[in-house]
C-alpha cells in the first residue's frame, strides 16, 4: 500500500482509531457471550416447544424440506400409532371372535337342530335354477373367495401359528406366496364378483314377503312354512352384503394393491382397516352361506352343482317361485338322458323375485 508522505500524521491517527474500534467491538462480543442471560435475551427465536408440538401432530408448513428423493412424508407420522392400535387391539381380536364365534354357532346349530330336511319325499321332477354361466361364475368367485380369505387370515394371524410350526425357510416361502396370491387374485375376484352380482341382481330386489320371512326366522327351525320367491330373505341379505361391504372391500383392496398411484400412508392405513373389517365380517357370514348351501339344507347344493333342484325342495324353500315355474319341471330320467327340457339352458323367469 502506498502512503502519502505529505500527510504521515493523518494516516497514523486513522490506523490507530481503526484498531481501537475493532478491538472494542471484539471485547464487547466476548463480554456478551460470557453473560448467558443476556445472550438468551438477544438470541433468535429458534426452536420452541410449539415447533415440536406441530411436528408431533404431523403438520408440515410450506417451508418443510426433506432431503430424501420424492418424499411425501412429514417429520413424524402421527397416525401410525393409531393405526397400529386399531389394527392390533381391535380388528385383529374381534375378527377372530367373529369368525370363531360363527364356527361355534354353526356347529351348535348343526348338533342341536340339525339339517333342514325336505318336508316330503322327492318327486323326481327337476326345475332349472342356475344356468351354467351363473354356476361357472359362482364357483370361480367362491374358490377365489376361499383362497383370498385363507391368505388374508394368514397375513393377519399366520405369524402366531405357522412360523414356530414350520420353521423359517417354509414360513418365508409360505408368506411370500400368500402375499403374491392375495395381491394378484384379488383384482380378479373383484371383477368377477361384480359380474356375478350384476347377473343375479334381478332376483334380489327386496319384496314385502321378505319381511315376513325374517319374522319367521326364515323357517330354519321347525316345520314352519315361509313364503319366498326365487331368492329368499337370507339370500337377498347375502347379496346386498356383497353388493355393499363386498364392493368396499374390493375398492380398499385396490388402494392397497397398487401403491404406485401416490396414495399416502394415511390413506393406506384407513384402506387397510376398512379392508380388514369388511373382509373378516364377510368371511364370517360366508361360513353361514356355505353351511346353509351344503350340509345345512337337504337338496340345496345340487342347485348350484347340476343347475337343477327337486320340485319338493323348490316348494319347501321358494314356494312363490315354484308356483310360477312348476309347469317347466322335467323328469330326472329325461335330464340324465341328456334331453333338453322345454326352454332349457335359459335363465329361469324371475317373475316374483
Amino acid at each position: 500500500m502506498y502512503i502519502s508522505n505529505a500527510w504521515p500524521g493523518f494516516w497514523r491517527v486513522a490506523v490507530f482509531t481503526l484498531v481501537l474500534l475493532v478491538g472494542l467491538g471484539i471485547a464487547q462480543s466476548v463480554l456478551a457471550q460470557a453473560d448467558a442471560d443476556r445472550e438468551a435475551a438477544t438470541a433468535v427465536v429458534g426452536v420452541t416447544p410449539d415447533t415440536w408440538r406441530q411436528v408431533r401432530s404431523g403438520e408440515t408448513g410450506a417451508n418443510f424440506r426433506d432431503s430424501r428423493a420424492d418424499s411425501n412424508y412429514n417429520l413424524v407420522n402421527a397416525s401410525g400409532e393409531r393405526w397400529r392400535q386399531l389394527r392390533n387391539r381391535w380388528v385383529s381380536p374381534f375378527g377372530l371372535i367373529a369368525i370363531g364365534g360363527m364356527i361355534v354357532v354353526i356347529a351348535l346349530f348343526y348338533l342341536v337342530i340339525g339339517r333342514k330336511d325336505l318336508s316330503e319325499p322327492r318327486t323326481g321332477r327337476k326345475l332349472l335354477r342356475w344356468p351354467l354361466v351363473v354356476r361357472a361364475i359362482h364357483w370361480t368367485v367362491a374358490s377365489l373367495f376361499i383362497v383370498l380369505a385363507l391368505t388374508g387370515l394368514n397375513l393377519l394371524y399366520g405369524k402366531f401359528v405357522f412360523r414356530s410350526l414350520f420353521g423359517d425357510g417354509f414360513w418365508a416361502a409360505m408368506m411370500s406366496g400368500t402375499k403374491l396370491i392375495h395381491n394378484y387374485l384379488g383384482p380378479l375376484f373383484g371383477i368377477l364378483l361384480i359380474v356375478l352380482l350384476a347377473r343375479v341382481l334381478k332376483h334380489n330386489w327386496p319384496k314385502k314377503h321378505d319381511l315376513a320371512w325374517f319374522k319367521k326366522g326364515g323357517g330354519m327351525v321347525g316345520k314352519t312354512h315361509v313364503d319366498a320367491g326365487f331368492a329368499n330373505g337370507g339370500e337377498k341379505v347375502w347379496f346386498w352384503l356383497l353388493a355393499t361391504a363386498g364392493i368396499v372391500v374390493i375398492a380398499s383392496g385396490f388402494v392397497l394393491d397398487f401403491p404406485n398411484y401416490g396414495q399416502g400412508r394415511d390413506t393406506m392405513q384407513w384402506a387397510n382397516l376398512i379392508h380388514a373389517v369388511g373382509a373378516l365380517g364377510l368371511t364370517a357370514v360366508a361360513l353361514g352361506h356355505i353351511y346353509i348351501g351344503t350340509i345345512g339344507t337337504e337338496g340345496a347344493l345340487e342347485g348350484m352343482t347340476t343347475g337343477y333342484v327337486d320340485e319338493t325342495w323348490a316348494r319347501d324353500h321358494h314356494n312363490l317361485w315354484y308356483e310360477e315355474v312348476k309347469d317347466e319341471a322335467i323328469p330326472e330320467e329325461q335330464l340324465a338322458a341328456g334331453g333338453k327340457p322345454s326352454g332349457g339352458g335359459e335363465e329361469p323367469t324371475p317373475r316374483s323375485g
Binding site: T42, V47, R68, V76, K159
Partner: protein, 204 residues
Amino acid sequence: MATMKFMCDAERCIECNGCVTACKNANDVEWGIQRRRVVTLDDGEPTEVSISVACMHCDDAPCIAVCPTETLYQRDDGIVLHDKDLCIGCGYCLYACPFGAPQFPQQNAFGERGKMDKCTFCAGGPAETKEEEYQKYGANRIDEGKLPLCAEMCSTKALLAGDAQTIADIFRQRVVQRGHPDGAWSGNPRADTDNLAYDATRQG
C-alpha cells in the same frame, strides 16, 4: 446391557447431509434408497431448524408389532433389525413407523414393493456369511466395536449414537451449558482451540 439410541441435536444440525452420504457409503445402500434423511422446518425463515432422521430403534417398535411375517425384531441392545428373507413387501411397517424409516425399492410390476430396507444402526442383519450380510444389509460396524458412521462423521456432532445413558448425559450437559464460551467442552484440554460446541443459532 447397553441400549443403543440415536439422538439428533436440532440446535446443531446444519443440514449438510453428511450423515446421509456417510450412511449410503458405509452400507452400500441400494439406488433410490436413502436410509437417513434430513428434514428442515421453516426453511429460509429465522426459525429454520434441521434434524436428521432415520430408524430410531424404538423401545416398543410399532413396525415389529404390525409386521405379518416377523421380519422385524429387536436385539437385546435395542437395535431393531430386519430379515430380508422374510419380508414380503406389504408395507405395514411403513404405515406404522413414526419416522418414515422403512423404504421399499419399487422393482416389480404394478408398483409392487420389493424387500424393505431401513437403518440397521450399522449392525448388519441375519445372514450366513459376512459377505452376504454386507450385500443384504450393509456394514456391521457394531460387531467391529464402532458406532454408526452417520453419527461418527457428523461435522457438528449434532447426531449422536451410542448407549442411551451416555447420549443423554452428553445432551444434558449441552443443554445446561448451551452458549457457554467453552460450550460443554469444559475440562477438555482442546476446549479453547477446537470449540466444536459453538452454537450458531445463538447470536449475542
